[in-house]
């Protein structure tokens, strides 16, 4: 299906301003998100990373400027981009039903939902939890479910907001391998992360935000080794390099 439709990407943000509660949270962001390389969004707390992702996903509308995909966002009733939130939202249903719910909304035939959902759960390594209530899972398992729910929808663009924040190393590894698999399957990954090690492992390029502006955009190696902007340099000094 996506083959016939015009490509979704690039996603273009032009002079995007977002204001809320009397505060300017994004202050003139212009960006082009191309298909292919894994894009990381980094920056200090409160720099507007989550707001940026929400604007890309259409959960927020810019106060000024434009956010636009080059192709249609829906194909056959199915949204072509998906988002995984920092705090996963678990429906009061079973693990499996959390995935099939998304498939139902995407217009997938009822006869196919369980099979597709089962595959996604297996991919995320939580197939054995399919019949458990989602809300009693551990934090890492919930995040894997959130990824499986997004994966089942076969998005062309996946937006991830700190998917491994507050997770232990084992859970982090599991999540990272799912993200890597999605990348290899051709999904464009845009991910917010704080973790420098993760940035090395999972990133190709970094968009560095500071105070609601793009301070720097560079390949991961370049930005993490020799940042050109003072903002990124200050951020790297503060972060523990081995974390």
């Amino acid at each position: 299906m996506p083959g016939i439709a015009p490509p979704l990407l690039p996603l273009t943000l032009r002079d995007v301003v977002f204001e809320a509660g009397g505060k300017r949270i994004l202050d003139g962001v212009s960006l082009t998100i191309d298909p292919g390389p894994r894009t990381l969004v980094m920056g200090p707390n409160g720099s507007g990373k989550s707001v940026l992702l929400r604007l890309c996903h259409g959960l927020l509308l810019p106060s000024a400027g434009t956010v636009g995909f080059s192709g249609p966002e829906y194909v056959n009733g199915r949204r072509r981009h998906a988002m995984v939130f920092q705090r996963p939202v678990m429906l009061r249903r079973s693990v499996l039903a959390n995935v099939t719910y998304g498939l139902a909304l995407a217009g997938v035939a009822i006869s196919e939902r369980t099979k597709i959902a089962g595959e996604a759960l297996a991919r995320a390594g939580i197939a054995h939890l399919a019949l458990q209530p989602a809300r009693v899972l551990s934090g890492g398992e919930q995040q894997r479910l959130a990824l499986a729910r997004a994966w089942a929808l076969r998005p062309e663009l996946l937006l991830l907001d700190e998917p491994t924040a507050n997770l232990d190393p084992a859970a982090t590894m599991a999540i990272e391998s799912v993200i890597q698999a999605m990348h290899e399957a051709g999904t464009k990954v845009v991910m917010v992360t704080h973790n420098l090690g993760q940035a090395h492992r999972l990133g190709d390029e970094v968009v560095f935000l500071d105070g609601g502006r793009v301070a720097e955009r560079a390949p991961v190696d370049v930005l993490l080794r020799s940042p050109a902007s003072r903002e990124a340099a200050r951020f790297l000094e503060a972060e523990l390099p081995w974390s």
Binding site: R92, G102, P133
Partner: protein, 234 residues
């Protein structure tokens, strides 16, 4: 104390013997209060859910008013419904005063704010949690509302039972609009009031025991359902 012991013994005998008069009163009580809880739920559940997810000027005021109305004094509700249904009142033509239907109407009004307020609270909490995800997955407003109500169905059942408990235990409204007519509109609470004033303590105590059992059972069921739901769905 001797009075109480004797009356208790008589009450137990009355209950054990399945006294038809007592059973009739219990049955009417349950019928009236369950009907009221049902009607209030049919109206109140969608209203509460709509109030939870909508944003309009005056919404906060409406929320505060709904919460305040949970404490409506039953006698005042009874008085207002009496005035509406009395022969000279706007709905006098219907001839409903001193019938079980009048009691159902009064108790429905009493229970409605409870259902609306508790539903709004539960739906609002769930909505705060679900909103981003439902938007992300592309759920239309109606679909979102249905998802929300379905996912909090256990809280809603508790809400309905709370409404029923309130109705079954009140005396002021049913007394005024029902008139406590023997065999027609006499329910547990009005019978207890009457029998106590007449000095027939065994019947009053027997009915009191049944009433407490019903209220305790309803609360226990509500509690257990919630517990089970929490365990299953978190």
């Amino acid at each position: 104390m001797g009075d109480f012991a004797a009356a208790s013994r008589a009450a137990v005998e009355l209950l054990a013997s399945g006294d038809p008069k007592l059973l009739e009163i219990v049955a009417l009580s349950l019928q009236v209060s369950l009907s009221a809880a049902l009607i209030a739920s049919v109206i109140g559940l969608p209203l509460g859910a709509a109030l939870a997810v909508s944003r309009f000027p005056g919404r906060r005021t409406l929320v505060v008013v709904t919460n305040a109305l949970m404490g409506l004094p039953p006698v005042v509700v009874g008085l207002v419904v009496y005035l509406l249904l009395s022969r000279a009142g706007p709905l006098g033509e219907l001839g409903l005063l001193f019938t079980p239907q009048a009691m159902v109407i009064a108790q429905s009004i009493l229970v409605l704010p409870i259902v609306v307020a508790l539903t709004r609270q539960a739906a609002e909490d769930a909505w705060a949690e679900y909103r981003d995800l439902l938007h992300s997955l592309g759920a239309a407003p109606l679909r979102s509302a249905v998802t929300l109500l379905w996912d909090i169905r256990h809280s809603l059942l508790t809400t309905v039972l709370a409404g029923f408990g309130r109705a079954a235990a009140e005396v002021g409204a049913v007394m005024i609009v029902g008139g406590n007519i023997d065999g027609v509109t006499r329910v547990m609470t009005t019978a207890i009031a009457l029998e106590t004033s007449k000095g027939d303590l065994p019947l009053a105590l027997g009915l009191g025991t049944v009433l407490i059992s019903v209220v305790v059972a309803v609360n226990a069921v509500a509690y257990l359902l919630r517990e089970a739901a929490m365990r299953r769905y978190g």
